[in-house]
């Protein structure tokens, strides 16, 4: 018996031969806002009177409201929509046309259930009958980029996101510091030598060793952004996940997809208008993305980041200064090849007859249209029919 395990019966079988072979394209960063973000208070339709009627307490004041301070009112984007003031760190990327918004975007599911909607969205399916794997997992499985890195797809956190599940192995990474052997330095050195020996004819093992060595040289605690004078990464889990994504990209360890969660958006109670619960979440999101954008300026041409949430929230505020589960949501796409500086998608309006029961923003763009375009145009994967089965993709023209 050989430890390095080269007997043919012990070799992994390829259960699924990828349809396409192509060089890898952009690194994709997928950010999931868990809990159903209240997108109407993120990208505010300040040009629509109905918004203020529906949200007498929670409505974010118009950009021209002279009674309000700058950090209490909407930052105008295009005369109709504007950012919540907490999202203003994103203005640089917006002005540089590297940030696009797709409003009234989402999934067809109307269950209003976090569990179900998140699951369907991460699987990228119409209903439970679809494949059990995740949409990113199927993307990885349907495209052979010749990349055997264990960090080809990484879920930032303690376990990989549902969207990553599939036949291609993925890694969960809480921190870069996790990716090393710990303990007595002499024992680690011996173990390293032994692993080199027993994995000498195993590509994945060799790649894992190489990455272990590469990451050992990184120092997450003293990491310097490429643009230190710009917004700093927030000291949150989200900021750390983005910073580590940046480090992995720069270290060239084969990262193709990074999945990051930002939770806490289920704001049924006192969500806050200018400050409070939800503005703090938006600040974390915006500062993280702004810092990432500034840090990765030289890599933007090969980088696409996208945000999504399982559904939106009710158009009218509830009796507890919060909002209940709604329908239509919003996506943001950040990258060097985005048709940025504009709000895409048809705006369904918030008027009577425009909202869908029981008072929700309608969905005019399916989230899979946005993702399909990113996969096809930026990640060299034309097999979007495999990634999103039983779904007919429509063009949104958000990617170059």
């Amino acid at each position: 018996m050989k430890l390095s395990n080269s007997q043919p019966t012990w070799l992994p079988r390829l259960s699924f031969a990828p349809l396409n072979t192509a060089p890898r394209g952009d690194t994709l960063v997928v950010i999931f806002l868990r809990g159903a973000a209240d997108v109407l208070n993120m990208v505010v339709p300040h040009g629509e009177e109905n918004y203020y009627q529906l949200r007498p307490t929670l409505g974010v004041p118009r950009p021209d409201d002279s009674k309000k301070k700058k950090d209490e009112k909407v930052v105008d984007l295009d005369g109709f929509f504007g950012f919540h003031p907490s999202l203003s760190p994103l203005m640089d990327a917006w002005r540089e046309k590297q940030l696009a918004i797709i409003h009234a975007c989402g999934a067809p599911d109307e269950s209003h259930s976090h569990f179900k909607s998140m699951e369907l969205m991460e699987r990228g399916v119409n209903d439970e009958r679809g494949p059990a794997s995740g949409w990113i997992g199927r993307h990885l499985a349907s495209l052979d980029t010749g990349n055997v890195s264990p960090l080809r797809a990484v879920g930032m956190g303690t376990r990989p996101q549902r969207s990553l599940s599939g036949s291609v192995p993925v890694s969960a990474l809480r921190s870069i510091a996790d990716f090393h052997l710990g303990g007595n330095p002499l024992a680690v050195q011996q173990m390293r030598a032994a692993l080199e020996l027993v994995y000498q004819s195993d590509a994945m093992g060799q790649e894992t060793l190489r990455i272990m060595d590469t990451l050992a040289k990184l120092d997450p605690l003293n990491y310097q952004s490429a643009n230190p004078q710009s917004t700093a990464y927030p000291a949150s889990d989200f900021g750390l996940a983005l910073k580590q994504t940046a480090m992995l990209i720069k270290a060239e360890v084969g990262l193709e997809v990074s999945a990051i969660d930002l939770g806490g958006w289920d704001t049924h109670f006192t969500q806050g208008v200018a400050s409070g619960l939800m503005p703090n979440l938006m600040k974390d999101l915006a500062e993280g993305l702004a810092a990432f954008h500034a840090d990765m300026r030289d890599h933007m041409d090969r980088l696409t980041a996208v945000t999504m949430s399982e559904f939106g929230r009710r158009a009218y505020e509830n009796g507890s200064l919060g909002t209940d589960h709604g329908h239509g949501s919003m996506m943001m796409v950040l990258g060097g090849n985005v048709r940025g500086g504009q709000v895409h998608g048809a705006w369904p309006g918030l008027g009577e007859g425009q909202l869908i029961e029981p008072g929700d923003l309608a969905v005019t763009t399916d989230y899979r249209d946005v993702l399909s375009e990113i996969l096809a145009k930026r990640l060299n994967n034309p097999a979007t029919d495999l990634v999103f089965p039983d779904y007919e993709v429509k063009a949104v023209d958000v990617m170059v």
């Binding site: 395990n5 019966t9 009958r129 890694s171 007595n184």
Partner: protein
């Protein structure tokens, strides 16, 4: 037997010393003794593979026993699990009070002030107990089947009240019927509050049906996705299941049928006309599903995949399915076919994380309370009862082959005895076989972990890699063991 005074004195000092030593050992060890250290023989690859499928990784005394009685007798012994004395394992679990509680009691101990719930204690005790049983129970095949059915009837403990209800489901559904009749198992699962909550059947009421449980009952629990049912069958079964729910106040967490939420009228599922009969409607369908030929094939194939190969031999699956049909789903009879006929044809499978950590810990007689294993298991991707979707932890090698780093980390931490409340002593382990030569000890360790010693040149290369002037013989042996546990060969079973 008569003892001289001198003998008596010698004995009494020995006993006094051992009493002093054992006073710090846990109660189960004082009562039942430690794990046995025996001599063992090398095994050929086929026997080692077979024993690796029947257990969570063979222990030295299991190897000795297997070598003595042979595969067939070993399987029969394990199938007759009730006759296997498991006193030592039971003792380890004696302090786990939640295992014996009903839902009402579990709710009471989890309920904290101001409507807050402690959602960790109960599922963690279940996780720990499950792990300790897999590690220490002598009823290994039974525990392997418990794991199989826990995957098959997967329940995610983080979903709503499942954090307490799963403990009851594990005891009353899975463990009760793991080697019994499939019909009883699926019947119990359908009446299990944990399952009904997990798959939203509480929301399945007259006028607003929820098809979630109805669909999974056919797709994942019985017929299989290609089992010949239609969307209409799902909708009709969902109608039959309206009103199947869980009590909320008194007798909280118990099954209940709410007649007022049940949709009236006749139904038709799988061509079977079902007259209006309240709770009896779905029960009639369950009887049909439990013994349906598609179910027989689906369960036989899934068992064969677990025990034999990612793509199991078709003729074995077919034969096992026929036995399933003939015996109306007698699990032991189906297993006999798969194990006796199938094991000689088995192919290597990549160890799932639980299997990986357990096989290392079992081979090395590790003593642990199990808690230190949660974190590595979570990072490898298999913390028990934490798979969110109803398909259960994947059983294909591909799904697990990427994430090597946490396995390597675990190997080193375990072998170097750096995990909390976890002990192992390589020298004591090799007590019965050691010659005192490092090379022989290395061969013995390799044989324990891989079935047989490594070829001499491989062993020498590996020893050279891990030997350093600054390390003691024990430390060298620890890293040697760690590198075997981390090696490609040990990832497969």
């Amino acid at each position: 037997m008569s003892l001289s005074r001198r003998d008596f004195l010698k004995l009494s000092t020995f006993f006094a010393a051992s009493a002093a030593l054992s006073s710090c050992a846990p109660i189960y060890q004082r009562l039942a003794g430690g794990l046995p250290v025996t001599a063992w023989t090398e095994m050929d690859a086929a026997d080692f593979l077979a024993l690796n499928r029947l257990t969570f990784g063979p222990r030295m005394e299991e190897r000795a026993h297997f070598a003595e009685i042979g595969l067939q007798n070993y399987i029969e012994e394990q199938l007759d699990f009730d006759s296997i004395d498991d006193f030592a394992c039971d003792l380890r679990l004696s302090t786990f009070k939640t295992l014996r509680m009903d839902a009402n009691e579990l709710e009471a101990i989890s309920n904290e002030l101001f409507e807050n719930y402690d959602r960790e204690t109960v599922p963690n005790e279940l996780r720990q107990a499950t792990f300790l049983r897999q590690l220490y129970s002598k009823r290994q095949l039974y525990e392997v089947m418990v794991e199989f059915w826990n995957d098959h009837f997967n329940i995610f403990v983080e979903k709503e009240a499942c954090f307490i209800l799963k403990t009851v489901d594990d005891r009353e559904v899975i463990r009760k019927h793991a080697l019994g009749s499939f019909r009883d198992l699926v019947w119990a699962s359908a009446h299990s509050p944990a399952m009904l909550v997990y798959l939203d059947n509480q929301a399945n009421v007259k006028g607003t049906p929820n098809e979630n449980y109805a669909r999974e009952l056919m797709e994942l629990h019985t017929l299989g996705v290609d089992g010949g049912y239609t969307q209409n069958d799902v909708m009709e079964l969902a109608r039959c299941l309206t009103g199947w729910s869980v009590k909320e106040h008194f007798w909280l967490g118990e099954f209940t049928f709410r007649a007022q939420e049940h949709e009236s009228g006749a139904k038709n599922v799988l061509g079977l006309a079902i007259p209006e009969a309240g709770q009896g409607e779905a029960e009639q369908v369950i009887e049909r599903l439990a013994t349906h030929p598609s179910t027989a094939r689906f369960i036989a194939a899934k068992l064969a995949r677990r025990f034999l190969a990612d793509d199991p031999p078709r003729e074995i699956v077919e034969k096992a399915a026929q036995v399933f049909i003939q015996t109306q789903g007698d699990i032991k009879s189906v297993l006999r076919v798969i194990l006796l006929d199938g094991l000689p044809l088995a192919q290597p499978k990549f160890k799932r994380p639980l299997n990986f950590v357990l096989s290392a810990a079992r081979a090395l007689n590790v003593e642990t309370d199990g808690e230190a294993f949660y974190q590595p298991l979570a990072r490898m991707g298999q913390l028990p009862f934490s798979w969110p979707t109803p398909d259960g932890y994947p059983d294909h090698s591909d799904a697990w082959m990427g994430n090597l780093m946490p396995r390597w980390q675990f190997a080193l931490e375990l072998a170097r005895v750096e995990m909390k409340n976890t002990r192992l002593n390589l020298f004591r382990l090799l007590d019965k076989v050691s010659t005192g030569r490092l090379e022989d000890d290395a061969d013995a360790l390799a044989s324990l972990l891989l079935g047989a010693a490594l070829p001499r040149s491989t062993r020498d290369d590996l020893l050279a890699a891990v030997t350093d002037a600054g390390a003691s013989a024990e430390e060298t042996l620890q890293v040697f063991a760690a590198s075997i546990i981390a090696s490609p060969a040990f990832q497969w079973r």
